[in-house]
């Protein structure tokens, strides 16, 4: 067998009426050879997942359908194959792993059984033989204590472990094609690094052809042999990984690669403004107490001391669950800290009641991660923006006038005020949220993962905007992110959090150049594509 495991020829998939465009995927052709990792990149909605699902025959019935082209798996056309044949091939010749390890496993079935299911469907092995095989593959994906994991339910495992179960499930019958749809996007960088390593290793050992979907160029740099770039359902560029990453041909590819922030922090001026925000021994413990039910206690922040000057951006980085959002929400007083002091504009807001707090609300504003849920879908953008100022006594006309100025500032047309949030893209909404925060003329702006949900290209613009307004209004910015590349670009100083504790704290350039804490080092170590300088095409 020398030909490609997967060859896609002129694949088109039609979208239902009223979709973004006529075809989700149009005239797509590429192939995957045995033992080769092909990465498909492209911004959100470019048709990556649809392509992958077409191969597996898993397009949602009645909504999407292939309307042209061929998908050849070892020479056999998947488009015309009957359902029963597809079913027989799934799990044996082709397998797939998905983005969300949290939801891709059935929560009410044990992990072992879920892997075993594949064997049960496709082989005649006895129960004992199957169990043996399952344990072997669990061992192979480096799951600790497979015998115990066999009977564990997915929720009892960490995200990385779950993804390993998924991989074990996909590889247990040695398929010739593995499709991975953003398998690491939802994971922490350290876990991501481990999973990437595992995929590469398994693929090498077994000679599997891998179709790897991602939008993270770091990941591409880390594992890809070849790259396929998609835009709006079309393939715009294909080539060897090195070539595409260093010498992108298509303007779209160039733009994408340009947008990837580098891991090298630029030089930034030292800010000497007055201290706008300070926390002293801030603690937050969730749970505990409870009248009828004893709740589990989580110490989400312990003795956090941070300090932000006006005009300065402090980044808080750390893995998921390390307590970043907790600190942010305490400072914004969306939740009440357990103890400690929070000094905003020389008032301690830590233990104020809601009523006392209201006058101080304007000093500190927050921009949230999810641009889709941050704006009330029923209210005009303008109404959302003027709500705050009017609460503080500004006349509606005046507030609206100012809102118009702000629109210009964040790069939107003034008539945007008279539209509803759903009429805007994610990036635009995030700009509106920033404008809303600015309308209050705050001294402190908290951005909790404010760019994490955005495509790289959009992310770049929003980052630029944030940096802009920081300068313009001398804002103290508390920037929360798990993305080191982003942190490197925008933060003056960085605080690294682990398990609710700030483990390292210092100037961005210094920490990136010379991390001292073991955790920080591990974090940097795991950043994908760290050794790769992306092309900078002006």
């Amino acid at each position: 067998m020398s030909g490609p495991v997967l060859e896609i020829r002129n694949l088109s998939v039609r979208l239902p009426k009223g979709g973004d465009r006529v075809h989700a995927v149009e005239d797509v052709s590429f192939s995957v050879n045995p033992g080769e990792i092909v990465c498909v990149v492209g911004e959100s909605g470019s048709g990556k997942s649809v392509t992958a699902h077409s191969v597996m025959g898993l397009l949602p019935k009645g909504q999407l359908a292939v309307d042209g082209g061929q998908i050849l798996l070892d020479g056999e056309d998947m488009v015309t194959a009957p359902m029963s044949r597809l079913r027989a091939l799934r799990g044996t010749k082709m397998s797939m792993i998905f983005q969300e390890p949290m939801t891709a496993l059935n929560p009410v079935v044990t992990c072992g059984e879920q892997i075993d299911e594949v064997l049960e469907i496709h082989t005649d092995l006895s129960q004992a033989e199957r169990k043996e095989k399952v344990l072997a593959v669990m061992e192979a994906v480096r799951l600790p204590d497979p015998a115990k994991m066999f009977d564990a339910y997915p929720h009892q495992l960490s995200g990385g472990q779950r993804q390993r179960i998924m991989i074990a499930q996909a590889l247990v019958l040695d398929p010739s094609l593995l499709i991975a749809d953003e398998p690491t996007t939802a994971l922490d960088v350290t876990t991501q690094a481990q999973i990437l390593k595992l995929v590469a290793e398994m693929q090498q050992r077994r000679g599997t052809g891998v179709l790897f979907i991602t939008h993270d160029f770091g990941v591409v740099a880390e594992i890809a042999h070849r790259v396929v770039v998609m835009q709006k359902g079309k393939v715009v560029e294909t080539g060897a990984a090195k070539d595409v990453l260093t010498r992108p041909q298509h303007p779209y590819t160039q733009m994408l690669i340009n947008s990837v922030p580098t891991l090298t922090p630029p030089h930034r001026e030292v800010m000497e403004g007055p201290i706008a925000l300070e926390t002293v021994k801030l603690n937050k413990t969730y749970g505990g107490g409870g009248f009828f039910q004893k709740k589990r206690e989580v110490k989400a922040a312990s003795d956090v001391d941070i300090r932000v000057r006006r005009g300065e951006t402090l980044g808080i980085v750390g893995e998921s669950g390390s307590g970043k959002s907790t600190v942010a929400r305490c400072i914004a007083r969306l939740i009440e800290p357990t103890s400690g002091a929070i000094l905003v504009g020389n008032m301690d807001v830590a233990l104020m009641s809601e009523r006392q707090l209201r006058p101080h609300r304007k000093h500190c504003q927050i921009v949230f991660q999810d641009p889709y849920r941050s704006l009330n879908p029923r209210r005009l953008v303008g109404q959302s923006i003027v709500e705050g100022p009017i609460n503080f006594g500004v006349s509606p006309a005046e507030a609206l006038e100012k809102a118009r100025d702000l629109m210009a500032l964040v790069g939107l047309a003034p008539d945007a005020l008279d539209r509803y949030p759903h009429q805007f893209s994610g990036g635009q909404r995030q700009r509106i949220c920033i404008a809303r925060a600015l309308a209050m003329e705050p001294e402190v702006l908290i951005a909790d993962e404010a760019v994490s949900a955005l495509d790289v290209s959009v992310q770049k613009q929003v980052l630029a905007l944030l940096d802009d307004v920081r300068k313009k209004f001398e804002l103290a910015v508390l920037f929360i992110t798990h993305d080191l590349r982003v942190a490197a670009q925008i933060c003056d100083r960085i605080a690294v959090m682990q398990n609710g504790v700030v483990v390292e704290h210092g100037k961005t350039t210094e920490i990136f150049a010379n991390p001292t804490h073991a955790y920080t080092k591990a974090l940097f170590e795991a950043a994908p594509g760290k050794d790769f300088e992306f092309a900078r095409v002006a």
Partner: protein
């Protein structure tokens, strides 16, 4: 859609009942008892002349014209449905908002609601209606009481989830006072589920009224409702089925239509759909 049309037609029938009814719905005519549909009867008017009329749906054991009763019955039955749903939704909305937003109130209110909810609705209604004087108002109160906790739960769950929405938190950050927060940001989110719930309450109220009448403790018969027309006719179900048949068809059709309307509303107002928009 079909649901909405049928509901409108029924409401319309109720509204113009005095115009389309052929006789006084509670005017008895002992001489013309138990006539089959389309039968004719003659009666003496007050001024002594004799008149003949056709009973499209026959007459009942008191010789009352079933057609006129059914037409007038639309009024009361639909009024009860609407009144019950409006009342339980508004009371439930208010309590639910309070419970959902003020944590210290929450546990007290919810314990009371748990208690109310544990009382089987029909039993409560039976007890209430039979003990006080049967009438439209009592029936409405009796059906509203057990419905309220369900609305409260619904509203509360919406509030609890909306409260966590970033846009609500953003409004909190803007210093919006609590009452405005509730009105501006929380209330609108309860509209769609309440509209849906309201239609189902309406449908079930019409049904419960019929059941209460069936058990002999509903609205007094001189006020015709579909329920008590059927209840009065039920003994003669096998001899003169028209007494049950016609109000039954109207009742089932209306309840069906209201339910369909609710289903339709649910599909179009589905929050999932909305988010995508």
């Amino acid at each position: 859609m079909v649901g909405a049309i049928i509901v409108l037609v029924m409401v319309f029938i109720g509204l113009i009942a005095p115009l389309i009814a052929t006789s006084d719905p509670s005017g008895i005519n002992p001489a013309a008892r138990n006539r089959v549909p389309m039968a004719e009867s003659s009666f003496r008017t007050d001024d002594g002349t004799r008149k003949t009329m056709v009973h499209y749906m026959g007459t009942d054991t008191l010789g009352r014209d079933v057609y006129s009763r059914v037409v007038y019955g639309a009024r009361v039955s639909i009024f009860i449905g609407v009144a019950v749903s409006v009342l339980s939704v508004s009371i439930g909305l208010f309590i639910g908002l309070m419970a959902g937003y003020f944590r210290w109130l929450d546990s007290v209110i919810m314990r009371i609601m748990d208690g109310l909810m544990a009382i089987p609705a029909i039993l409560l209604a039976i007890a209430l209606v039979s003990l006080s004087r049967a009438g439209v108002l009592t029936v409405i109160v009796a059906i509203v009481v057990p419905e309220v906790p369900r609305v409260v739960r619904l509203v509360r769950s919406v509030v609890l989830s909306v409260r966590e929405e970033p846009y609500v938190e953003a409004a909190v950050m803007s210093g919006t006072p609590t009452y405005l927060l509730l009105i501006r940001h929380v209330l609108p989110n309860t509209v769609a589920p309440l509209l849906v719930q309201g239609t189902f309450i309406c449908a079930s109220a019409i049904l419960v009224e019929a059941i209460l009448s069936f058990l002999g403790i509903g609205i007094p018969p001189q006020i015709p409702t579909w329920g008590n027309i059927m209840a009065e006719g039920r003994q003669l179900f096998r001899v003169f089925p028209h007494n049950i048949l016609f109000p039954g068809i109207f009742l089932a059709l209306t309840v069906l239509a209201v339910n369909m309307l609710g289903d339709g509303l649910r599909d179009t107002l589905d929050p999932k759909m909305e988010k995508r928009g």
